[in-house]
Amino acid sequence: MIRARENHIALRAGALSVLVHGLLLALFLFSVNWKSTPPMSVAEVELWDSLPVTPPVRQPEPVPQPPKPLPEPPKPEPPKPEPKPEPEPEPKAEIQMKQEKPKPKVEKPIEKPVEKPKEVPKPDPAIKAKELEKKKQEELKKLQQALLAEDSKAEQHSNIKQEGVVGVKNSQANAGEIAKYTSLISRKIQQNVNKELCGSGSPELQFAINLMPTGEVIGVPKLIKGSGIAACDAAVERAILQSQPLPVPQNSELFSQFRDLKLNFRPNDGN
């Protein structure tokens, strides 16, 4: 150990190092996801192949039986009116009358059990989550190493300092950028919201989403607050997903603001 009085600077350096590590640890505990790779350029194209989404169902599921098959009540017969039994010129009706046959045969299928093949990908979200966890851990480690290295270099100290100063000056510009992308995202999703499915009241919904720097949604949107109308919730969720890739800033620092979003909907308001 270093004796406190002997090496003032060393002590301070040590304290600083501990402080920085502590800060970082705290930050990572509150889940800051950094990608050390530079963000890709965001093209307005569906990059479905790169998305860690559920793969299409591979195996041919047994096709389910309908809950009630089609026993049709026999087609109505056009009767002759009592007082005037003229032969009506209704050949069409006569022909269609003769569909009584299916009745006896149709009785059988009713017994078949009802089975809908639920899509397979139930385990997949879990796998996906694990993959994400892994990534997070890796980033964390990388970052910690990078920062540890920075600690010991004076040059990098001044770099950081410069960036910090610049950060203060640009905070207003950042706010402007954030507002711009917020508006872009809001408008793009709004275009796809189908409020016809949301009844006549004033429902409010809230979804939470996680974005990749490409603007794609990670996994599925999470419903925090529903409208009370299932079709409305589903429609809004579809609107979010259909709006991919969402417009997000390319700058990684700004993008970090958009990584986790809360989307608040009032589909029947406005207009």
Binding site: P56, P121, R266
Partner: protein, 429 residues
């Protein structure tokens, strides 16, 4: 000092990341009005003539969904890969054309001239299945099956009951002959229930969809008949002195409300479905007519001019004082109630034009729905979303439909005679 500054700088740099609150984004309103859906033509056997002679199942489903106004049915021909089952689906291709829903299916031959129809409804964005069903049918049942599939799709995506597999009744007048007809909700497959040289009016479906009550002038005066759509048999429900008209079934199908004149003015009665047990409901010296039951059977709404001009009133089905419910408009007739009991539709005269209007029963708010001008006989779809009615276009009686919010408007084209007096049948049980 350097270290202090460094510290501060780091703080500043990291501050936006430290304890960062999630960004909240507000999205108000919604511009989309239709659900984009793709319906891939079903695969089908080529050696079944009955299939070749009919519209394809995908086209019937597409026409149904399109007609509802709730869907935008996308063109699928441009997509190279045409799947017929879930394993063949490449979701990216369908997402690329902005589809949210995708229907794939197949028709296979079975022995005994039967067919197996299978389909799946898929969520393109979440890449999962919303519905999958299989039917065993005869070729003659293809249209009905297509309508049932359209119902499933409609229900899964809108949350509302579909009505594509329902039927409508109406009267067609051609060459001085009147026919009461029943057709599919899309107008196909009309069949004559009864026809006559004298007018037929006011068809009314029994709640179970097996009978129609109607008014016929074949005895040179208006008489109410009840006819079974299953057997074709009919009987006279009411032929009292004077006029017998405006039959309306109670929700349990055991009674009807009717209008008699006994040679004096029109008044409302109830009568058992077998013609017994006539009971008086209204007693006034004016016109009381067009009774309709509420779905909970508690009330009967009707038209009355006891206030000087025709308006809509409500009375308890067990009898009592009637209460006026319409206050906007000087001439209002033909009350109809939605199945959920929340809306009242009627015909209202405005500056000489007779239009379909809808009133919110709770709030009293009124909206004029139709843009045609000689409207009569509104009839709610069983899901309350569309209102079918009769109008005159270019001098010819035509059926039209308007959505309960006025957004979707349709004309039902009909070759042949003047069409009038539509009645939308109940949902299939």
């Amino acid at each position: 000092m350097t270290i202090l500054r460094t510290l501060v700088s780091i703080f500043v740099l990291l501050m936006p990341l430290a304890g960062k609150a999630e960004l909240n984004i507000e999205i108000v309103g919604g511009a989309a009005t239709q659900i984009p859906i793709a319906i891939v033509p079903f695969s089908q056997p080529t050696n079944v003539p009955a299939l070749a002679q009919q519209d394809s199942i995908a086209s019937i489903i597409g026409a149904d969904l399109r007609r509802s106004g709730m869907f935008r049915v996308l063109e699928t021909r441009g997509v190279a890969n045409q799947p017929h089952d879930i394993a063949e689906v490449k979701y990216a291709e369908w997402a690329a054309i902005q589809a949210q829903g995708l229907t794939v299916g197949s028709i296979e031959s079975l022995p005994g001239n039967r067919l197996k129809v299978s389909f799946r409804l898929l969520d393109v964005l979440k890449q999962n299945q919303l519905a999958g069903l299989e039917y065993t049918i005869t070729p003659a049942q293809l249209r009905t099956t297509a309508h049932k599939i359209a119902d499933v799709i409609y229900q899964k995506m809108t949350g509302e009951m579909g009505v594509f597999a329902t039927r409508i009744a109406y009267i067609s007048k051609a060459n001085k002959r009147y026919s009461l007809q029943v057709a599919d909700a899309d107008g196909y497959n009309p069949q004559t229930v009864v026809s006559s040289n004298e007018p037929i009016i006011s068809p009314s479906w029994s709640p179970d969809g097996t009978k129609l009550a109607y008014v016929s002038f074949e005895k040179k005066k208006p008489v109410i008949y009840v006819q079974s759509l299953v057997s074709g048999q009919r009987y006279v429900l009411a032929n009292f002195k004077g006029n017998n008209s405006a039959p309306s079934w109670s929700p349990d199908g055991k009674k009807l409300a009717i209008v008699l004149t006994y040679g004096a003015n029109s008044q409302i009665y109830t009568i058992n479905a077998d013609g017994t047990g006539l009971q008086s409901l209204t007693k006034s010296s004016t016109i009381d007519t067009e009774p309709v039951w509420s779905s909970d059977a508690v009330s009967i709404y009707f038209t009355s001019d006891r206030g000087g001009s025709p308006q809509i009133y409500r009375v308890a089905s067990s009898g009592g004082d009637a209460k006026r419910v319409t206050f906007e408009g000087s001439y209002i007739v033909s009350p109809r109630l939605s199945a959920d009991g929340k809306s009242l539709a009627y015909i209202r005269q405005d500056q000489g034009k007779f239009r379909v209007a809808i009133q919110d029963i709770a709030t009293g708010q009124v909206q004029i729905l139709s843009d045609t001008s000689q409207d009569e006989a509104p009839s709610f779809a069983p899901n309350g979303r569309m209102i079918l009615y009769a109008t005159t276009i270019n001098g010819k009686g035509t059926l039209a439909a308007v959505s309960a919010d006025g957004r979707v408007k349709q004309r039902l084209s009909e070759s042949g005679g003047d069409v009038r007096e539509p009645a939308w049948g109940p949902a299939a049980n």
